[in-house]
């Protein structure tokens, strides 16, 4: 029997705000432990939360970028559980009325986006444990996807695209090493053709996007093999161990938390006005589809080229910086490698290369060599042309002398040309190029040869 995996992702993103979500403490990574804290984010007796407007605005911006419907009325809830990284032993989050609903990244649907507070960080020493509350209260956005992915590669692509969108909008820095983007996977396996989902297994503790991919590459066959052996899977939470390259059981269903959500009485619900939405909409970066249409219109690009170039915001930016008069040629050069933004080539390199060919300084064929050299070394075209002595000879005196030599030495070709065989010219051009060691401007060479042959 064939099996297929169903994957949904829960992504936590720290928002790029100056201060924490409920107090005035700085959101700063890497400060001395417990130096960015106050009674509010330490959960001291009697303190109250005050909502950070900027966090709400950034969450709405993320929602708009992902095509979500923004809730005009949204509220806060308490999620109750005990853990030393939770200052109040409840987390202020959003349960049934999140800020954003619906939306899409590529072929993956977004279920919802809600805002909540990040927890502190626990450290374990030889005999003791310590808690650093600097991170506690950092605004944290949770993006829940639909179970729309079927492979580790699809999950990888979704996370990569999501991260890029959030960075482009300035919503978050999404540095996984700094814990600014964290991801939990829900993955189940079922026989192909079966409608019901298999038992949902949640995987936690992946520290990178490739870690997510590796975890799924481990977990999907693990579940499939278990089912093939006739075992029954159980709903459970597993922990990814990056060193071991395996997942391990954390807790089974009967130990699942009852979070006892209830409305947060210390905060007023959020109402989003038309004016606020309009205001945030102004910060919205151009959506890929809108950009694609603009590239076709503005640069005269074929649909295919425009589609490739807008597939990533970085690539599209690269193109716009490089594009000069001949945008189509620029696009061709950019598309010769899979991801030019990952290479040492800058937009200025491409612009210079296109200009050099346009001006007849080098031939198109030489251009390919220059491009390869740029890709390898990051040197600018002018430097490469100079170093390799590639500049074409456009000095007509020199070319005329070579042309005379070629005509004198190739009587047969001259006769063929005069008899009406136009192709015979190519042999003569080849001779001149040989004499010039390939540096003569071929266009100029054929012009001069034609003129001389007709005159003789």
């Amino acid at each position: 029997m064939d099996y297929e995996a169903i994957i949904g992702l829960e992504v936590h993103v720290q928002l790029k705000t100056h201060t924490k979500i409920f107090c005035g403490c700085a959101t700063e990574f890497g400060a001395e432990p417990n130096t960015r804290v106050c009674p509010v984010c330490l959960g001291y007796p009697g303190v109250l939360p005050v909502m950070n407007e900027e966090a709400i605005r950034k969450t709405i911006l993320a929602g708009l970028m992902l095509g979500c419907k923004i809730a005009r009325f949204s509220k806060w809830d308490r999620k109750n559980y005990f853990y030393p990284d939770m200052p109040k032993n409840y987390q202020i989050s959003q349960y049934d009325l999140p800020l954003c609903k619906g939306g899409r990244v590529g072929n993956v649907g977004i279920t919802r986006i809600h805002l909540e507070e990040d927890v502190a960080k626990n450290f374990h020493f030889a005999t003791d444990s310590g808690v650093d509350f600097n991170r506690a209260g950092t605004p944290l956005m949770e993006i829940v996807s639909e179970p729309d992915m079927k492979s580790a590669d699809e999950a990888f692509a979704y996370l990569t695209a999501l991260k890029e969108i959030l960075i482009s909008g300035g919503v978050g820095d999404c540095d996984m090493e700094k814990g600014q983007l964290r991801c939990d996977c829900n993955v189940s396996v079922r026989p192909v053709g079966q409608k019901e989902f298999g038992e949902k297994i949640e995987i936690k503790n992946m520290n990178s996007i490739s870690g997510v991919k590796r975890a799924l590459e481990y977990e999907i066959p693990r579940q499939t093999n278990a089912l093939q052996r006739g075992e029954k899977l159980q709903q459970e939470t597993r922990r990814w161990d990056d060193d071991a390259g395996k997942t391990f059981v954390m807790r089974t269903k009967e130990y699942a938390h009852d979070y006892r959500y209830f409305p947060e009485p210390d905060l007023m619900p959020v109402t989003v006005s038309d004016a606020m939405l309009e205001d945030i909409g102004r910060l919205l970066p151009e959506l890929p589809e809108v950009k694609r249409q603009r590239f076709i219109r503005q640069y005269g690009l074929p649909e295919y080229d425009a589609g490739v170039l807008v597939s990533s915001a970085a690539l599209a930016n690269f193109f716009e910086k490089a594009a000069g008069k001949n945008a189509k040629v620029t696009a061709n050069w950019i598309m010769t490698v899979s991801d030019i933004t990952a290479s040492p080539i800058q937009p200025e390199h491409i612009a210079e290369l296109v200009a050099a060919i346009e001006a007849g300084q080098i031939s198109g064929k030489q251009g390919k060599d220059v491009f390869a050299e740029m890709l390898a070394t990051g040197k600018f075209p002018a430097t490469i042309i100079k170093e390799k002595g590639l500049a074409q000879v456009s000095d007509t005196g020199t070319i005329e002398a070579f042309a005379d030599q070629a005509i004198a030495a190739n009587a047969k070709s001259v006769a063929d040309f005069k008899a009406g065989n136009a192709a015979a010219l190519n042999a003569l051009v080849g001779q001149v190029m040989k004499l010039s060691k390939g540096k003569a401007n071929p266009k100029l060479v054929s012009e001069i040869l034609t003129r001389k042959l007709r005159a003789s």
């Binding site: 007796p45 009697g46 006892r260 210390d266 905060l267």
Partner: protein, 489 residues
């Protein structure tokens, strides 16, 4: 009359004229505390030296002595007045135990907003008063630090949960005090100790720095010897606070209390005069309402039909919120800690040793009401009935300007009388709880005696209409002598 027996208004006149100094007033109250608090046990903590130093600082700043006869500048309203603070409000540098062992050793690191406001108005902060643990109780018997005694009869309870503040004011061991009221914790102790207790409208006074019991019900308010003093205190305490999102950005009136009750309609809810209540209490309250009628008010019979559900609704919503609010007392960051084998064990041992029986009972009740499978039947249902109770008041206030009821169904009971039966204790608040659930304001003031024990009259007002409540209460008070009676300590 000795200084400690006087009101804010009387002392302020003397202070403005320079007849007495803030130090003399504070010393007089300190002497009184030394004389009577051995019997009352109203205070949990005080620092006489610090109180005198505050008084001297106010003297030096010259804000107590202003031109007599001119209007009092707002920042001089309490200049040199010694005030006691319920142990549930944070005062920087002072302990704040909430009557609980779990906060033993904790020192506040910041001032509650109401404390900052008292300081700005020139008040002298005397010390901290006893209370039922985390404000859960109606007799102050649930304090981890022992019981407080009623100044009228030391064998009896002073009400609760703000029993320490009530006993201090009633016993002249403070000129005024702060309390907190979640289901009646200011009004009920005021009633049974014969002083004035005001619960402002939810959102009128900042809760920042008030250790939360039930966040959607808690409100800070004053205990005073007269209604005029309550108005003065409210002027100082009220107002929007950017640190409390539930405080309302609405201007604070001057709380003009003169003007009488002529033309005002006073509602008498039939559900608040019930079989089983103390006959003398009922008679005193009916007589008080007649008195208001004779002063020019119109009495209208009204109905608050969902009153009978108020106690049940309250004990679901308040406990649910409390179960989360009290979760932070875990031994990790502050307060008492009992070591355990691991963190979960430490939580259990710390909370097991730190919380008293009533607090544990309510945490369990609240946790249960929010649990999967029970939420809809308990918490959600309670919220729906809460809406009905609020609508009862909205409808009633179309027919009247204020509502008059008894504050409590009986006078102060004997210490230990109800400790064995929590449900009996819960019923102490049947006449006060609805006001918190609806978010309205209410005041309790003396209206008679039964067996030489004070009886309280409750005046309930529309949301943010403390002014009318105070005016009615002041008019009644000035036409009667009850507030002039003093316990024989």
């Amino acid at each position: 009359m000795t200084l400690h027996a006087q009101t804010i208004a009387q002392l302020r006149d003397k202070l403005r004229r320079g007849e007495v100094s803030p130090r003399e007033v504070t010393q007089s109250v300190l002497d009184r505390i030394a004389a009577v608090d051995g019997k009352l046990k109203a205070y949990l903590w005080m620092n006489a030296e610090d109180a005198l130093a505050q008084a001297d600082a106010i003297d030096r700043a010259g804000i107590a002595r202003t031109q007599a006869g001119t209007p009092v500048p707002p920042n001089h309203l309490l200049a040199g007045i010694p005030i006691a603070i319920k142990d549930v409000l944070n005062v920087e540098g002072q302990p704040c135990t909430c009557g609980s062992k779990i906060l033993k050793g904790y020192t506040s690191v910041y001032d509650a907003t109401v404390i900052a406001k008292l300081r700005q108005a020139g008040a002298v902060l005397l010390g901290r008063t006893n209370m039922d643990e985390f404000a859960m109780g109606s007799s102050t018997e649930n304090s981890a630090w022992g019981v407080t005694h009623n100044p009228w009869d030391l064998e009896r309870i002073p009400g609760g949960s703000s029993g320490g503040s009530a006993a201090a004011v009633a016993g002249d061991a403070a000129i005024a005090a702060l309390g907190s009221d979640t289901g009646g914790s200011i009004r009920q102790p005021a009633a049974v100790t014969g002083c004035v207790g005001l619960k402002p409208t939810y959102g009128r006074v900042s809760r920042y720095g008030l250790v939360a019991f039930a966040s959607s019900l808690d409100q800070v308010g004053p205990f005073t010897k007269t209604v005029a003093d309550a108005a003065t205190m409210l002027r100082v305490l009220a107002g929007h606070d950017e640190r409390d999102s539930t405080s309302v950005p609405q201007a604070v009136p001057e709380y003009a209390i003169e003007g009488g009750v002529k033309g005002l309609r006073i509602g008498m809810p039939k559900e608040y005069f019930i079989p089983g209540m103390d006959r003398e209490v009922e008679a005193a309250v009916r007589t008080a309402i007649k008195k208001l009628e004779s002063l020019g008010a119109e009495i209208v019979e009204i109905s608050l039909p969902h009153t009978e559900y108020a106690v049940a609704v309250y004990y679901l919503i308040a406990t649910a919120e409390a179960s989360a609010n009290l979760a932070r007392f875990d031994g990790v960051r502050y307060g008492a800690r009992v070591k355990g084998e691991d963190v979960i064990d430490m939580y259990g041992k710390t909370r097991g040793a730190g919380f008293g029986a009533e607090v544990k009972r309510r945490i369990i009740l609240g946790t249960y009401a929010l649990s999967a499978g029970y939420y809809d039947a308990y918490y959600l249902r309670a919220q729906k009935v809460r809406t009905l109770i609020r609508q009862d008041f909205e409808k009633a206030f179309k027919m009247c300007d204020v509502i008059a009821t008894p504050t409590a169904a009986e006078v102060a009971f004997k210490i230990g009388e109800k400790t064995a039966d929590p449900l009996k204790m819960y019923l102490c608040d049947i006449f006060t709880i609805s006001v918190n659930l609806a978010g309205n304001c209410g005041i309790s003031l003396p209206c008679g005696f039964s067996q030489k024990l004070p009886i309280g009259l409750q005046i309930i007002g529309k949301a943010f209409d403390e002014e009318t409540v105070l005016r009615v209460a002041h008019t009644y008070e000035q036409a009667t002598e009850w507030h002039k009676q003093k316990p024989n300590l």
